[in-house]
Amino acid sequence: MTETAAQTMAEDNITLKVSNVSKRFGDFSAVEDLSFNVKAGRVFGFLGPNGAGKTTTIRMIVGITIPDEGEISLYGSRISQEVRDRIGYLPEERGLYKKMKVNDQLRYFAALKGVSQKEADKRIDFWLDRMKLSEWKLKKTTDLSKGMSQKLQFISTVLHEPDLLILDEPFSGLDPVNVEFMKEVIAEIKSQDKTIIFSTHLMDTAEKLCDDIILLNKSRKVISGSLREIKESYGKNVISLRCKGGDNVLEDPEIVSNVISHADVKEVFLAEAADSQKLLERLVTSGAVITKFELIEPSLNDIFIEKVSN
């Protein structure tokens, strides 16, 4: 197999390709030179603090706005009407017509995505049943609770059976039971070989759901790749530490790059060119009393805080 052929095969596997994209609003730069790929059949975590540029990027992907620079391609072609119909987008800002009946509302959103009414009716019945909303079919949307309208909004996102699902903070406003329920539904959709982009600032949720991630901060990419690999790369230089004293050692930038304090343990990120043995030695000689010293794989949350606070 030649190198170009291998490359083509890899390209085939890519659902979304974002290349050197920038977007500015006046003097404010919302997204700066952003590039990443989303692979087919994976759950892709789109992570970052509020205001990092997540929603702006998503809006460019779904074709609501156009990048100032760079290119976005979906299934190998530029964003067009046909390609857009393959996306299901659940925006962070949820919106439903309050006075419309649940059934009519879903029919309308399906029609906007080009689904025939007959087909839509079948899928509406299936999904309302799946989401336990069947008895609300002929009720007005105003009568629904917040959690129920969230679920209704989700149905409207998947009715046209999109190949790419973009979910912006899909669990906000849901109670824990419904969060678990929605995770189940998302896993089910993933098992049908669909690609899911999952945008959130909740790291522990992302950690449980995502295969790949990108971390944005202040309009730029901070880190990206497979969640497994990223965590492994941190696995050699994070220590879970419980000790008394030794504060001056932990403040030494030559050995320690960052410390995140939890209730009774600290997570210590080693500086580059430092190793755990050296840290242990320094702590012992400084007279610190060590009750726990363990090399660990950091949580995504810790990586996030470490990267964002730097």
Partner: protein, 450 residues
């Protein structure tokens, strides 16, 4: 296109399938129908016959009066009056006239009374006693000398306020006395009718193209049309604005914009709501036309004089064309405002200028009705923003040359194209701007850059 129709369908159904729409659509024809039917109803209620005695010492008037108050004679007179105002009467209208006349004729029961040789005081005493005893409702006192200069016929009645009975009686008595005088002078009634026949007076105006035209339109039809257009444009414009503000407030626009092009969404909304307006207006126009055809005859028969507006099919076509032009102009302006503001309160502040322009158009209509060929009438009836409300009024008052109508249509279509071009740009950006109202310089930037 498929998405455009999806939007169109939703917007149409959203307006038409509501109680407000059904009620307002049916209310207008209902009011119109009532204004025709009510006079007829009142007639039926007042069908209580008036018992009347005629004290006629001369013995010459009574028979003629009685004859004049028969339904045939009343019908004859009503028909003549109706012919004057309606031009031609169809069978159903004639039947209505007949019914109304029979009702009127049956209003009188004659009570025999012999007045020969009695002096007026004695007659009055006798008849007053019968009125007090409720055997009689009214009586006519006819003087001995009818031809005297001060001859007066007196009506004494328990119901002196019943104007319909009074006027019918007065007509009949006058006509009876006149016939008697003619007979005394040896002139036959036929000869008199021939001699005293009215000469026709037809008003014809000369149009600007030099053609003559029968001027038969009364101004009220023009005002009603102007008012109707004014109200419908305002109501539907405002509803477009509130729909757009709702989509912005509830952030639905985000989903909509990820599914369809903003232009499709905007046009689907404008056309959908426009069709709903057209539906309502068509129902109104058709029902008013039907009512005019059937109801006018009964009004005339009841003695209410009304002039039939002169309406031709092309006028109705023009009316719909100009309504649509006006709708797209004002709905687009309201859509533009809706995409700039963040809530309805802000929206209604911005909505004032278009309302003022529409009101100005309404005032221009008065000038146009008075003189449809003036320079002012020409300019305001072709001008963008004004033409949709002024031109239909002018057409009703007097059809202007075709090139002026065509010019008005073209100018307003160009205006609509310009407005939609601007509105679709503002809509695209404005709908995604949350939390803050757009300033005019910002909007200007959106228009230029997108």
């Amino acid at each position: 296109m498929q998405k455009f129709f999806a939007v169109l369908k939703r917007e149409y159904k959203k307006v038409v399938f509501t109680w407000t729409f059904v009620i307002t659509t049916l209310l207008l024809p209902l009011i119109a129908a009532l204004s025709f039917v009510l006079p007829m109803l009142i007639f039926t209620i007042e069908g209580d016959s008036t018992r009347i005695a005629v004290a006629d010492p001369t013995g010459k008037i009574y028979e003629r009066l009685r004859d004049n108050l028969s339904s045939e004679k009343i019908m004859e007179r009503a028909k003549k009056a109706a012919e004057d105002s309606l031009k031609n009467i169809d069978p159903s209208q004639e039947a209505q006239l007949k019914r109304a006349s029979e009702q009127l004729g049956g209003n009188f029961t004659f009570v025999e009374y012999n007045a020969a040789g009695k002096d007026p005081e004695q007659i009055k005493n006798e008849l007053n006693a019968r009125v007090t005893a409720k055997q009689l409702d009214a009586y006519l006192l006819i003087p001995n000398d009818l031809d005297g200069k001060d001859a007066e016929i007196e009506l004494y009645s328990r119901k002196a306020g019943d104007f319909i009975v009074n006027s019918t009686l007065e007509d009949a008595v006058n006509s009876a006395v006149r016939s008697q005088r003619l007979a005394d002078a040896n002139i036959s009634e036929e000869a008199l009718n021939l001699l005293s026949r009215k000469v026709g007076f037809v008003k014809k105006s000369i149009t600007e193209t030099g053609k003559e035209k029968e001027d038969a339109t009364s101004p009220w039809a023009g005002f009603i049309v102007a008012l109707l257009i004014y109200v419908v444009l305002l109501v539907y414009g405002q509803s477009i604005m509130s729909a757009i503000v709702e989509e912005k407030e509830t952030k639905i626009s985000e989903i909509l914009f990820s599914s369809a092009r903003p232009f499709e969404l905007l046009m689907g909304k404008l056309v959908g709501v426009g069709l709903a307006g057209l539906t309502q207006l068509s129902i109104w126009i058709v029902s008013v036309l039907v009512l005019l055809a059937f109801g006018l005859a009964s009004l005339v028969a009841s003695g209410i004089e009304i002039e039939m507006p002169y309406i031709t099919p092309p006028m109705i076509v023009y009316f719909f064309i100009f309504f649509l032009l006006g709708y797209f102009i004002y709905a687009t302006i309201y859509a533009l405002i809706g995409s700039m503001v963040t809530n309805m309160q802000e929206g209604s502040q911005f909505a004032l200028p278009p309302v003022l322009v529409l009101m100005l158009g309404l005032y221009f209509c008065f000038a146009v009705v008075r003189d449809p060929n003036s320079t002012l009438a020409f300019w305001v009836s072709i001008a963008p923003f004004f033409a949709p409300i002024v031109m239909p009024v002018r057409i009703l008052a007097e059809i202007p040359p075709f090139w002026q109508i065509a010019l008005a249509i073209i100018l307003n279509i160009v205006t609509i194209l310009g407005l939609t071009w601007v509105a679709s740009r503002v809509y695209r950006v404005g709908m995604l701007m949350y939390g803050k109202r757009a300033t005019i310089p910002e909007v200007w930037k959106w228009i230029r850059h997108s």
